[in-house]
Structure formats: C-alpha cells, structure tokens
C-alpha cells in the first residue's frame, strides 16, 4: 500500500458541500480524479480519526487503505450528502479492525513514537513534548480525543469538523470545549504519559 504511486495535490482548507456532492456523484460513476479530490478534502479527517485510535507509525498506510476501501464500497453509499459520516465510520471500523488483527501487542503504542519523533526533526526535546501531548489526548475519552486531534493536529476548525464528520455544530463544540478542559487539567497536573491502548 505504501508503495502506491502518489500524485501531488494541494490540500484545500475551505470546503464546499455542494461541490463535495458533485465529486461523490462523479466518483460513483467511475471518475477517479473526482475521488482524488475527495481524498484531498477528507484525508485530514481520516488521518485524524486514525491518529486518535492507532499508533502514529501505522496511520499513513491505513489512510490509504481506508480510501481504497471507500472506493470499493462507494456504489453502496445510499445518501451522498452523508459521505463524510460514512467515510468516518469506515475509518473508525478500520481502526477497530487494526486492533483485532494486530492483537494486544498493538496496544503498546509507544516508544515507537519517540523514535518516529526523533526522525521527523532535530529538536528532540520538542519532539518528545509533542509525543507526550499527543499521548495525553489519546488517553482522553473517545468522544473528546477525536475532535481535539482534528482541531489541534490536523488544523481543522470546529465547523469543518462538524461538516466533514456529519456531526452537529453543537455536539462538536461541546466536545471540543470539554476535551480541551480535560486536556488542560492533565497538562496542569503534569500527568505521566499512559502507554496504553486508547479506550
């Protein structure tokens, strides 16, 4: 999967639901370029959902698997307006499947993260801090860690998260606020990083 040839595509920051519907419709009719544009629009959501559940080192490959799975199943999508919610569900199921297939060993998410962090940049201390913060978020209840990662890691705004995942603005806003409150408490406590599988 990782060896699949890639195309350079600019990741858009602004969404347009009507345009998304057109892309989904075109992709269902076999337009691969349209599906590629859907990837550009939804890859951060898929990446963030996966990152909230599985070890970071596995996320990039699984992002591609999720989109290929969606491509295979796209003809079964009943409501194109629910594409984002549908894709989010596929992503969550794929993350669950990861643990089913990988077994308990996969639950020990780090210290691979530390190694990966060291490879990404030169400032090891900053990398370690980022890894610790990510683990703190991953230790939060599922309801909160997903929107927080989409907001703080993927850089999506609350309205974008709601639109992409099919949730209501109110639900996302509440979960962001409560999640941020919990994260602040953990950061304030200097909580140790729990190296356990997200619940």
């Amino acid at each position: 999967m990782a060896s699949m040839e890639r195309q350079n595509v600019t990741i858009p920051q602004v969404s347009n639901p009507t345009e998304d519907h057109g892309l989904v419709r075109a992709a269902r009719e076999g337009d691969r370029a349209a599906f590629g544009r859907l990837y550009d629009r939804y890859a951060r959501m898929v990446h963030g959902i996966l990152l909230s559940r599985i070890p970071p080192r596995e996320v990039d490959d699984l992002v591609q698997e999720v989109f290929l799975s969606a491509l295979r199943q796209l003809h079964a999508l009943r409501d194109i307006a629910r594409f984002g919610a549908w894709l989010a569900t596929i992503t969550r199921n794929r993350a669950n499947d990861y643990y089913r297939k990988a077994g308990p060993e996969a639950a020990r998410t780090e210290p691979v993260l530390e190694k990966e962090g060291a490879e990404r940049g030169n400032d090891h201390a900053q990398e370690q801090e980022a890894a610790i913060i990510l683990e703190l978020i991953r230790g939060l209840p599922e309801t909160y860690r997903e929107p927080l990662i989409l907001r703080l890691v993927e850089g999506m705004t609350g309205p974008e998260i709601a639109e992409r995942t099919g949730l209501t603005h109110g639900s996302v806003r509440v979960n962001l606020c409560r999640g941020m409150q919990l994260l602040r408490e953990k950061l304030g406590q200097g909580a140790p990083v729990e190296r356990s599988r997200p619940v």
Binding site: M4, R6, R92, I133, R151, L152, G170, S171
Partner: protein, 356 residues
Amino acid sequence: MKDDYLWDSSGEPDPEIQKLESALGRFRHNQPAPAFDQVADLLPDKRRSWFFTWRLSFQIAAVATGILLAATTYFYLGSKPGVQQSASWEVARLAGEPRVGSKTLGANAGVGKLGVGQLLETDSSSRAAISLFETGSVEVDGGSRVRLVTNGPGRKRLSLERGTIHARIWAPPGEFVVDTPSAVAVDLGCVYTLHVDDSGAGLLRTTMGWVGFKLNGHESFIPAGAVCATRPRIGPGTPYFEDALPAFREALSRFDFETTMGGERGALLGVLIADARKRDALTLWHLLSRVSDADRPGVFDRLASLAPPPAGVTREGILRLDRPMLDAWWNSLGYGEVFVWRTYERNWSQPQSETK
C-alpha cells in the same frame, strides 16, 4: 465567546492552544493522494467498461455462457429449496465436530460452507468460526444453533436460535444483524457477545463500539462495557453497565421483565433513581421513554443531575418525549452519535419470521 479561538480560530488567540497547535502540527497529515486512476481492478465500472470493449462475437459467447450458468443455477437451486449454494460463508472448525447442514466438520475436514438457509450447529464439545468476507468474523461456542438468513450486498443476517456467538464486525454500521427469538441485534461497528438460552431469553454484552437492540419499536443502545437482556414476548430490556450497584441491577431486571403493580413498580423505579451513579446515565436515558408520564419527571431530574442536558434540550421537551431532544441528550452522553442508528437501522429491526 471565550472559546471562539478553539472553535474556529477566530477571536483573541489562546496562547496555550497556539502552543499545542505548534507542537502537534508535526503529526499532521501530509501525504498526497495515491494515484487512484492506476488502481485498475477496484471498481465495477472499470470492469464494465473493459467488458464493453470486447468484440461482438465475444459478447455473444459471454451472454450465452451466462444464460447457461443462470439456467443451471436455477434448476439446481430449485431442487433444494431454502438453500442458495452460491451465497455461502466459510466455517472453520475450532474444536470438536461442528455440523454445517448435514456435513460434519472433523479434524481434517478443512473449511465448510454455510449457505443461505443452512444451519451451523455445535454440541457441548465443539466450537466453530464463521468468516464473513469484508464483514467480520463470528465465533460460535458449544451448544449453539446459528442459521444464515440473508447474504446480500450490504445485508448480512444471522439467526442465533440458541447458544453463544462472539462477533467482531468491521463492515459499515447496519450491514450485519443477528436475530434472536426476542430481539434483533444491529451492529453499529463493534465487538460483542450474544447469548440465547433455551427459553429464547438473550443477553448482549458489548466489548467495543456499540450495538442497537430492537424489537417492535423498543430500542436499546448498548455501548462498550454495557449489557442488555432480552426476553421472549417482551423484547430488549434497559441496558446497564455491569459495574452498577447490585440493588440497581436487581431492580432494573424486575422493572424490565417482571409483572409488577403500580406501587411496586414505583418502588423499583425509586431504587433505580436513588442508586444511579453518573455512569448509569445510560440506563436513565433509556428509562425516560419507558416509564409512565407520571414517573418521567423523576427520571428527568435525576438524569439531569448526573448528566445535564445540552443546550436546546428542555425539561418540557423531554417530558413529552421529543425525539430530536432525546437524541441530542443521548449524543451528549458520549457513547456514539444516534444518527448512526437512525441512518443505518433501516428496516432490519423485525426478526425474519415477523417480516414475512
């Protein structure tokens, strides 16, 4: 509002959030799109367009072959009513000698096929595993009877007549359901165990994700860590977390399944309200729509004290069982978005025997 920056990056920047964004940005998605146009064998359309490039003579030959195959299948299946051999799932023996239809899977029997209408049966010493391509897997414990009811695209249906199954499902929500004698379990992306005893009573225990349990309009949502019992002619009871207080569990079982008079029923409800912990909001939310109009305010007040309703959800609305308000309150509990259920539950919710 003070959380404007967190919400949409507007308003006065929050230095702590900015620091988090800066630190965590290194994990952000940065992979360009794969070359989807080079994935040649994924979509039916691609295969179809390739098909239409064949020469006319080849098409005629293919059509003739198809007609011949269809006719053969029709006559073959026609001689075996109730069993569609083309739509089968793989069954592997895990222990003992499980039976698939009339075939026994011994130690060296390899993989069996469970066709639509066929029965997989295990005695007390045997176990088996059903593999469902791109759907999941189901382990069948000893002393079980499992029948494959439906196996269409996006619709997989088993019937657990007796015994225990452990389901691990990764198909999209709502694609996999299990009938029991007293309720229908609709998978919403999860891992769960379902047990049915000889009387037809059942118990569903969710390990991961959540499951919808439904019969005759009676809905129960069972998130990870929770269980839900079901009884013939009554349907699913109220879900609860297994670490609830013993008195709470006892009262709930009697409230759901025993014929009790007004005063006694009120006493049981009193126990449920008094002994409910914050985590038992799951149970109280379900009780809102299961108690009488007179009892509903008490349930509302206790639930509101444990898990305050979100903005827009009013006491008056809940007391008249306003569906959007009930759904919004459920969503705020953090067990899963109810639209998943409303979207995918579709028409699965009656056992096959009742929908005929």
